[in-house]
Amino acid sequence: MTNKESAVLDLIYQTLTTLNEERSADEKIEVGPDTCLFGERSVLDSLSLVSVIVDLETLVADKFGNAISLTDDKAMSRDPVPFVDVGTLKAYILEQLG
């Protein structure tokens, strides 16, 4: 894993850790490379998903100086959408960062 890949993965984990801090004790999610964020198997409800997206866009901009959108037309036209799970999210962010 490259340094950039590792950094992006850390940011995703950071947003999920922040989310856990905002949720009650019985709502904590397991944070890992296979964590499913969207769709039938998702561990997140819509509020939590949006929280992750918003926080992650901010963190990526702060870390890399590049503003990315995870929900613009480009992102939403992907199939699957970028935020299905941690892996697809990481891949999409890396692609956007170039």
């Binding site: 997140l44 409800d45 509020l47 998903l49 939403m76």
Partner: protein, 208 residues
């Protein structure tokens, strides 16, 4: 209370009735509703509260297409002179039933369509307790803007919290919120099965 049903792709909004008192009280007393204002403490109180809703309010039960009630949402504070209204009382009570269905976003979309398209309002607004960070981020993401703060306005969860005042104008709804909601619904549709019953998992809550 107005007798209006709104139909969406994945959900319907039907009128809240006193017969919903026990169910909605259970939702209100769940851990997920911890960030809401204190409500009724008995089924009788809840039924009385529902029965006392003025005719000017729209109070809905959110039902998935099977007919199962899964949550509630309202449009209150409608002022046709100043052409504004206050969406709120937003709570998904049956999280397991809505997992995979874009319930929250479509419920908001139907309420906004009622506000801006049918009632011709020019602005919607509401307050959220400052500790309800997930709901604040959610509403901002959907197009609400922070317009102010009422300091130490709520006593919720054992401490005083600011009320964050959020608002959205009609043009912001059309240019920002509506496309974003449509995108989320489309994403949910894409991730679901052909029967349309297994889309994005959504649950939310909002201050009254």
């Amino acid at each position: 209370m107005t007798n209006l049903t709104l139909c969406g792709e994945f959900i319907n909004l039907r009128p809240l009735t006193p017969e919903d008192a026990a169910m909605t009280l259970r939702w209100r007393q769940s851990a997920r509703a911890a960030n809401l204002n204190q409500g009724a403490t008995s089924v009788e109180q809840q039924a009385a509260w529902i029965a006392s809703r003025p005719a000017s309010e729209y109070n809905f039960i959110i039902c998935i297409k099977s007919g199962q009630p899964v949550g509630m949402v309202s449009l209150a504070g409608i002022d046709q002179t100043h052409r504004h209204g206050e969406p709120g009382r937003f709570l998904i009570g049956e999280e397991d039933a809505v997992r995979g269905v874009p319930v929250a976003v479509e419920a908001m979309k139907l309420v906004y369509e009622l506000a801006f398209d049918q009632l011709k309002l020019l602005r919607v607004f509401g307050t959220i307790a400052s500790g309800n960070t997930l709901m604040i981020k959610w509403q901002r993401f959907l197009g609400m803007r922070e317009e102010g703060r009422l300091r130490r306005h709520y006593f919720i969860n054992g401490h005083f919290q600011d009320a964050v005042l959020l608002g959205m104008l009609e043009e912001e709804y059309r240019h920002h919120a509506l496309p974003r909601m449509n995108s989320l619904i489309a994403a949910g549709r894409k991730s679901g099965k052909a029967d349309g019953n297994t889309l994005d998992g959504m649950r939310s809550q909002n201050d009254e």
